[in-house]
Subunit: 289 residues, 2 copies
């Protein structure tokens, strides 16, 4: 049981976490914090949080669980604002989509990464943003990756794990560097490709006539291009190295496909498409079990 949960950044991710914990009666009180008072008021009206504070030091005061759900670029500022203001037994965790940059920010602010800080990342989301888009089932059967460091208190890790398990998530531990590589591949690169494709097409013709002839495949393919641009700017900056590496791999493979098209190598194209279809169909089977 969490006595007082403090959610900093009450949007889709933080709001859904609070809703799931409240639905399971797994926390007694939820305090929200964030930049937008209007959003925090909405969160109170929707019953997502009990009350809010605009001062972050006030917000974390007395909370036994503090969860940072702000864009990656805002993490360091939040660490600075709450440094020395957490309760004695408080556990601190975050929901950032890259872990290396958050760990580095914590190191800069606290001198060394606090042993009560458990870096985390729930692999869930939609292209919607804001507390209005939050819902308690967001994390059901989703993965949450925790990347505790050697000095992280195992009791802190266990409390964060227990919190996420209440939401219906499957929690796994992972090395933060590996996390950032895996997410660059499965999430960050696809988002970049979707944004980049829509951008390329937009610039093909000024009237966007081209979109008139797009079908359902295009709609699904580009859904993630409707995601929050600020969040994705921050992710690109935070996980730059792993993303750049993935872009390089991807461009190499795409150009190899282009070469196969150029030399009319139907066998090669069929081999790649068949293998990709098999891998994708297998992924779908596994995730719909």
């Amino acid at each position: 049981m969490i006595e007082r949960l403090c959610v900093i950044g009450v949007g889709l991710i933080g709001g859904s976490l609070a809703r799931a914990l409240r639905a399971a009666a797994a926390c007694r009180e939820v305090v929200g914090a964030g930049r937008s008072v209007a959003n925090l008021q909405t969160a109170v009206e929707l019953g997502v949080i009990d009350r809010y504070e605009t001062d972050l030091a006030q917000a974390v005061s007395g909370a036994d669980m503090v969860v940072l759900c702000v864009p990656l670029g805002a993490m360091e500022g939040v660490f600075t604002a709450i440094k020395g203001r957490l309760a004695e037994q408080a556990v601190l965790t975050d929901a950032g989509s890259a872990k290396g940059s958050v760990i580095e920010a914590a190191q800069r602010v606290f001198g060394s990464v606090p042993d009560f800080f458990v870096p985390g990342h729930p692999i869930a989301g939609t292209e919607q943003s804001g507390v209005e888009a939050s819902f308690p089932g967001l994390y059901q059967r989703r993965r949450v990756i925790l990347t505790p460091l050697p000095n992280t208190l195992s009791s802190a890790t266990e409390r964060v794990r227990a919190m996420w398990e209440v939401t219906g998530a499957q929690v796994v531990n992972m090395d933060p560097v590996h996390h950032d590589e895996v997410l660059a591949a499965t999430s960050h690169l696809p988002h970049l490709l979707a944004y980049s494709l829509v951008d390329t097409l937009s610039r093909l013709d000024e009237n966007n006539e081209v979109f008139d002839y797009a079908a359902g495949g295009f709609r699904d393919f580009t859904r993630i291009a409707s995601s929050d641009p600020v969040m994705w700017r921050d992710i690109c900056l935070a996980n730059a190295d792993a993303i750049l590496q993935m872009i390089e791999y991807f461009v190499d493979d795409l150009q190899a496909l282009g070469e196969a098209i150029r030399r009319h190598d139907g066998e090669q194209l069929l081999a790649v498409f068949t293998a990709a279809k098999a891998a994708r169909d297998c992924f779908i089977e596994k995730t719909t079990e």
Copy 2:
């Protein structure tokens, strides 16, 4: 009213056309043809076609509307098989995803493109294949592009237009070269990107552990990588020039994004993501009207 519709290739596209026309009582008889007798028997059992012929010349005999719904690579063989066997007043059309290659194939087989042939392309589909996946509503509110040539009989174009309008589609005419460029941008490139991404990820680790950490965005983004590999091999070969051009544009834009990440240019990233989100949101609004 179509007296006898002949559908060559009774899969998702051909099957859905037949179902839609039958549902609207817009044709008296449907004859199916194709390579797989098992599939044709299924089509009869499902009530998609009335009967089938395995010999293409027999199949088109006496039909007033003949629709080719075979992979692009099979078009030339079908033209050869039906040459000189069509009824006097028959109209011939196709549903191929590229138009230049089909027109060239017709030219090679018939000497010049017949004036009763109306090249066409319904922009609809799912990642499923086969007659079992066909359904009468597939074309509702979808676009069908016709690319008649200067010598095409306008009466033929009108009959094909009327047929597609019965299915609920919006029919537009377009220059075949422009069609192939537009489709390379909105359909062929996205499919290649999806196949290529899954391929890149598959080869990152042999155990496909990486897919365990993929979320809903990845699922949607790669849905089209579950499409029929033979169909897409043929499309890549048939529309090679336009696709290669699009790959070039896309790689340039993606690498520019990579450069922005490398120099930590958050402003540039935010500008591209914001513009892409706006274009995508606008596309969604238009298509859900």
